[in-house]
Symmetry: C2
């Protein structure tokens, strides 16, 4: 569904604007995922995406053991009238190689994590017994199997531990190691090219170019890609010259899985990138009903997807998260991700234009979410002030103080 919005200046009359949701769905459908696998040592797997289900080579726990420091015995020893057991000499420590055999009617001291010896199925906490003349007396009732962990109760040898498409986090690394995995298959990391365009952009100021604009987007986008755990490829900067941009994209499309450009995606005569994507590539969408984010181009070049971000750093930042994040996760083999969000009461009120999605720079304070004093897209400082974004849906027209709004913490986005 496309929306035509003509009642405000941001979305001029007579133009059809694509809703964000439509653009995202079209993007998702249009992308073809080409993945290559490699084997790596488990110890290096952090941040990689599994290209195969991983099957446990060892149970967890690998043997039945005790969860506490206490006394171990056979439960049937105390099923009769007896509430005391004979204490054996010695104790069982984790990793000990000494083989114990605990006869019925006896108990042995055993320390947290130690494997249960023959004859032990139950452990009572040391604080729950009284010791007297080599006898163990129970202060409380005891349940069969208490304070023990059964071999394989978490994972059994042969179980699928983690599924294909899982991005390995620190705890997943722990799980993989605990189940005996030493090597595993993962996808190659995504390579994302970053290209800045525009005659006005310079990397460094000199006396001669002091009126120019510094290239903020390239390092910012490179660092976002780095944070996401992919490989940023610095494609440099090109002037607004059709041939130079074409040559750059030809080369970049051979080495990158995805390209982010910034600048040159507007309707102006100088917007070479948008023009070129339309004439020589495939331009899917470029008039998207969102703020900030105009202009934004979703396209491909010799089969490599391109996200043509606005030149404005605030808009480039927001669009890289809203569009770039799920596109990257899909292309990396992890699948399309939903950006994490939470409903939080608004500390502000606001009138909003119907028919476009808006992203506001936001910050949590005392359990409510407040917004930056200006929505101006030139205000880069607002991104630093914020700890997240608020997403206002297309059909929202008014937010009252205390209304629940959708807040997306930056920690879940970058």
């Amino acid at each position: 569904m496309n929306t035509s919005i003509g009642d405000n200046k941001t979305f001029p009359k007579g133009t059809t604007w694509t809703p964000v949701e439509t653009a995202l769905n079209d993007l998702k459908k249009s992308l073809s995922v080409n993945l290559v696998s490699q084997k790596i040592d488990v110890i290096k797997a952090l941040g990689f995406v599994l290209s195969k289900d991983v099957v446990a080579k060892r149970s967890n726990p690998h043997s039945s053991n005790t969860a506490v420091d206490g006394f171990g015995f056979a439960y049937k020893s105390i099923e009769g009238l007896e509430n005391s057991l004979n204490l054996m000499t010695g104790q069982i420590t984790p990793g000990s190689d000494i083989l114990f055999n605990v006869p019925e009617g006896s108990a042995v001291r055993i320390l947290t994590g130690a494997s249960l010896p023959n004859g032990v199925d139950t452990v009572v906490l040391q604080e729950e017994v009284t010791l007297h003349e080599d006898k163990v007396y129970f202060n409380n009732d005891v349940k069969l199997g208490e304070n023990t962990r059964k071999a394989g109760e978490d994972i059994t040898d042969g179980d699928i531990v983690l599924k294909k498409g899982t991005r390995v986090r620190p705890q997943d690394l722990g799980l993989l190691i605990s189940t005996g995995i030493e090597e595993l298959e993962v996808y190659l990391q995504l390579k994302v090219g970053i290209l800045s365009t525009g005659n006005e952009i310079v990397k460094k100021l000199t006396d001669k170019n002091s009126n120019r604009t510094l290239d903020v987007n390239r390092p910012m986008l490179m660092s976002i890609i780095e944070r996401w755990g992919y490989i940023p490829i610095d494609l440099g900067h090109v002037d607004d010259n059709e041939n130079k941009i074409r040559a750059k994209l030809d080369k970049a499309s051979q080495i990158c899985d995805l390209i982010f450009t910034s600048g040159g995606a507007s309707t102006g005569n100088e917007d070479y990138v948008a023009k070129l994507l339309k004439s020589d590539g495939q331009l899917f969408h470029w008039k998207i009903a969102m703020k900030p984010g105009r202009p934004l181009a979703l396209a491909s070049w010799r089969k490599t997807p391109i996200i043509g971000l606005p030149g404005n750093p605030v808009a480039a930042f927001v669009c890289s998260l809203v569009f770039g994040r799920p596109v990257c996760s899909l292309l990396s083999g992890e699948g399309w991700v939903q950006l994490p969000s939470f409903l939080v009461p608004a500390a502000f009120s606001k009138i909003k234009k119907m028919g476009r999605r808006e992203y506001l720079r936001a910050r949590i304070k005392n359990g409510k979410v407040e917004i930056f004093h200006s929505e101006g897209s030139g205000r880069i400082s607002g991104l630093s002030w914020a700890d997240g974004l608020i997403e206002l849906q297309d059909d929202v027209t008014y937010i009252e103080k205390g209304d629940l709004v959708r807040y997306m913490p930056f920690s879940g986005l970058i």
Copy 2:
């Protein structure tokens, strides 16, 4: 305030347990922060903590410019009866070196991001005008200064851009560059040593040691430190031997800002780390009323703080986040961080023991938060199943379905 809890088996009678909040406050007070500064290129600043306020060297925007593609003119030109202006030849593009001077009564075509030339203070959107015979006619009312961004409206040369103690995120990098910063002062990255202890622990299984426990904690904790942006130092593994542990800690305390140990912090005879910390170091707390997390030691060794994590990987993981995260951020110069959390309706009900804090492995589903089927601390797979933790306060005894509970997404913790 200490709590004495004797009505359950997890917190045995006759022992004083320290509430998590007390332990955290004591930790915060006990830590002394010793920081060293270095100068780095702004481009490398991602993840570093600023050791000085950063002062802007350039205003943002550096010159007044247009936020849209349109026509620029002096507002006073149209204050009279006139609603048309003379269109000048040519156009102004961003970064153009051509000097324009726009006389009263005239307008010039100007593209997004271009600096306003002499004589222009207002820009009207191109879609809001009609062009006819070199004249520009306005379709709507125009406001003074509309669609323009004033020089310095975001940041003025000399303003403080980012404060000492700020950890540089991608957007902060953007802000720094846009305000002309090329070099800045940051603290050296925190060095966090990771030591595994316990006779039962092995790095690799062989035919001879197949009953042992694999060292899950060391790689897991190393990868957590890496994720936090600090430098993990692999201190290897030591057996339960007092002299070896002492030698290891002596050496480690010279090169690390903080040490995480795992294992050996219990009350058992074999818990050399806890014993040693008590006799030769300073042991502040080691009986903390939390689940999972028993035993946990907060200590220091020759002035280097030590967090003695439990050997159990689930407990080690949770304690590293709850205690390790704020300690690391304080020692790194960023200050004590509050772990981000959100109130989410519970998809479960649960009876809880009074007087201890509990952390449950949790996952968001359809706007509610569900918990892992087992609270057993041997269940490492629950950490992979989860996308966050639920924190239940000490005084909570019952959770009903639909109650709001405090959910902490892993994305905000690791």
